[in-house]
């Protein structure tokens, strides 16, 4: 048993850190936020050039053959800079499932492009109302030319840039299928929406026919299993992002409160301030260990349903507390959007809620425990 990162993992993490620090300084992030469409393509290509977009993809499609744990390190580093690039959507939501379940044609069509930085992917996991990703409401009727998909998928990340969006749907035979939908199809309306973290998202209104070849894994793919796989990676990826957001926010808060003096001494030497910063630190530790544990178990194929829920519970519950504490300790600077800390707050709140806030994860976990009696 060894909780340290391996040498290779440290190299990945350092490389990612270097790229994000070099190419996503605050001024750049601000610039993309104000002037662009919320997607920093320059940074995206830097990541591709450093082979980081293929990090968790198999070598046969141009990747480096690492896995989810290493992807989490990349996401953590992205979170630290709140950098506007669709890493989570493309890799966790799109590429990992295709690499795992895709037909040879699907893999070769999409994954090399991902590694090269030419293809953005995403998945549509949110559901209106009860928001249970495991019960998709889009319907898929088998038709002459493939599958007729109908329904609405809210708040799909980066849908407006995605070459394909993975859409889970309920088939007419009662099974679940995951379909590779092209948002540019005439039958797909892409309605861009604003989101809390100011990153690009869109609602998809789907009424289109996709070819049978665009069912993930082909005719025999087990949609139920694929959907579980997707949701678990999506959740753990969010946890990693959130960890990065929170740890950087705390570091910035420690620096800010140590640099600002009131009543003749640094703010952070007021115990009420210092202890709130310490509380925030204490809260990131559970986020870190539960995320690593869940990622590691998933990679090793161990039972992980509880561990994933636990990780997302902490990412949501502790994560929102951390960003609140940091925002609060920044005083007026927290509200001023010329100062960077507010972005960490907004990302933290977004990550908290996405795919279910803390209480949702607890309710699911409570059910599992009651059932499994663990």
């Amino acid at each position: 048993m060894n909780f340290d990162l391996s040498d290779e993992q440290n190299v990945v993490s350092d490389l990612a850190k270097q790229i994000f620090e070099g190419h996503a300084p605050v001024e750049r992030v601000k610039h993309v936020e104000r002037a662009g469409d919320g997607f920093d393509r320059e940074l995206w290509h830097e990541l591709a050039n450093a082979n980081l977009l293929g990090l968790c993809l198999p070598e046969d499609v141009g990747g480096s053959g690492f896995g989810l744990v290493e992807l989490c390190m990349l996401l953590e580093q992205q979170g630290r800079r709140v950098a506007p690039v669709p890493v989570w959507a493309t890799l966790a939501l799109g590429a990992l499932p295709i690499a795992e379940f895709g037909t040879p044609a699907q893999r070769t069509e999409w994954l090399p492009g991902v590694c090269a930085g030419n293809v953005v992917l995403s998945a549509a996991l949110n559901e209106r109302g009860a928001d249970d990703a495991l019960r998709p409401t889009v319907t898929a009727l088998r038709s002459e030319h493939g599958w007729h998909l109908q329904g609405v998928k809210p708040t799909v990340p980066s849908a407006q840039f995605a070459a394909r969006v993975l859409v889970p749907a309920r088939q007419d035979d009662g099974r679940i299928g995951v379909f590779l939908v092209n948002p540019a199809d005439a039958g797909v309306q892409v309605q861009p929406v604003k989101a809390t973290n100011h990153q690009p998202h869109a609602h998809l209104v789907i009424d289109t026919v996709v070819s049978a070849d665009d069912r993930l894994g082909g005719e025999s793919g087990d949609g139920e299993e694929q959907l579980h796989f997707m949701l678990e990676r999506a959740l753990v990826g969010l946890c990693a992002l959130q960890l990065g957001v929170c740890s950087a926010a705390i570091e910035q808060t420690a620096a800010y409160t140590s640099g600002r003096a009131q009543f003749g001494k640094p703010l952070s030497t007021f115990q009420a301030v210092g202890h709130q910063a310490a509380d925030a630190f204490i809260l990131t530790e559970p986020m870190r260990v539960t995320m690593l544990q869940a990622a590691w178990r998933l990679v090793h194929g161990l039972p992980s349903r509880q561990e994933v829920l636990i990780a997302k519970y902490w990412a949501s519950e502790a994560g929102q507390k951390v960003v609140h504490l940091c925002q609060h300790l920044h005083g007026g600077m927290g509200s001023d959007i010329d100062y960077p800390i507010h972005r960490y707050f907004l990302w933290g709140v977004q990550n908290e809620t996405t795919l279910g806030a803390g209480s949702t994860q607890l309710a699911r976990l409570g059910e599992l425990i009651a059932r499994e009696g663990r």
């Binding site: 559901e127 604003k194 989101a195 003749g264 929102q320 007026g332």
Partner: protein, 406 residues
Amino acid sequence: MDIGDSPEEAAFRAEARAWLEANAQRRDPAKRHKQASTDVEQDVHARACQEWQRVLYDGGWAGLTWPKRFGGRGGTPWQAAIFAEEQNKFDVAVGAFAVAHGMVAPTLMMHGTDDQRGHLDAMLRGDDIWCQLFSEPEAGSDLANIGTRAVLDGDEWVINGQKVWTSGAQHSVYAILLARTDPDAPKHAGITYFILDMRSPGIEVRPLRQITGVAHFNEVFLTDVRIPVANVVGDVNGGWKIAHTTLSNERALIGGGNTAWSMQELIAMARHFGRTNDPIVRQGIAKAHSRAAVLQYMGYRMRTSISRGEMPGVVASTMKLFYARHWAATTALALSIQGADGVLWGDSALDDGLWQQTFCGQYAVRLGGGTDEIQGNVIGERALGLPREPALDRDLPWRETRGSGR
């Protein structure tokens, strides 16, 4: 103890309500307006406040508790509370006069010269909006650390410095201003309180765009701005005590405000998202309801002590803290009721992003009138009699503390 309307109070309430019915539209309690965001919206709001204030004035309802000699109605704090409760049920714009009526007026009545009190009438008529130029980048919680300098030149003071977190500076005709007139005195003893005409040359107002998307606050840069000596309120170098009058009124104002939402709104939202049977949501609504009840009762208590002529220091701090926590918890509840839709923003979100805006707005509420930490100190010292934390810079000449203050 008597927690219902007395007959006189009931009669006053009926009178107020009748007048309001005749002069304003009732508000739908399950609906709420978003905070004015754009410059245009903010201008419209300020003008609407001025118009409604004029209607109040013409109807004899302005300055409800102000003495008649200052043009007010000479009413009791209880009447003001009842009028506010009733007015809150109508669709009228208030808020732009919070500084003028809530903070400047009590200060001028207590400390102003007769000439200075001449401003009171224009405030009451809705003509002049005022703002407050107190905080600075290096003087937030430690307000006495202000560095804006005022130097006497003939019969004028010349002001140089930067202020921040100023609400409504762009609509204001006058401001109250704290500036340092004796840097060699200890920090509390070298501050003077001024009235500043915002139309004077040398004033630059820059809006601060906030996380909520609104620019409610401004930075104000003062360069060689001249103020006649007649505009000093109280004594030169005696401004700190006067600022205290202003600030304790601010605290009472924030804590005593009506809650920004009704329980109906939350219940309607839960119904909209099909979550009225979710036990966790229900628990959240029950908690919010319990907090709202506490605020209402605390408000009664505060008004009781005001009507006894007491300055409600501890009660105001307690309410302010409680109010801030209520705001934070209830807006978080609202977002969680929205589920996946809670991450939407602006016009993509429910009610045009009103709830997201209010949620993010909690930080302005927590800061205004003193941070949570400052309220904690006030309560510890005044309510519990705890000894003060030793301050390192209290008795040193301000000039000498300046290095460590930056």
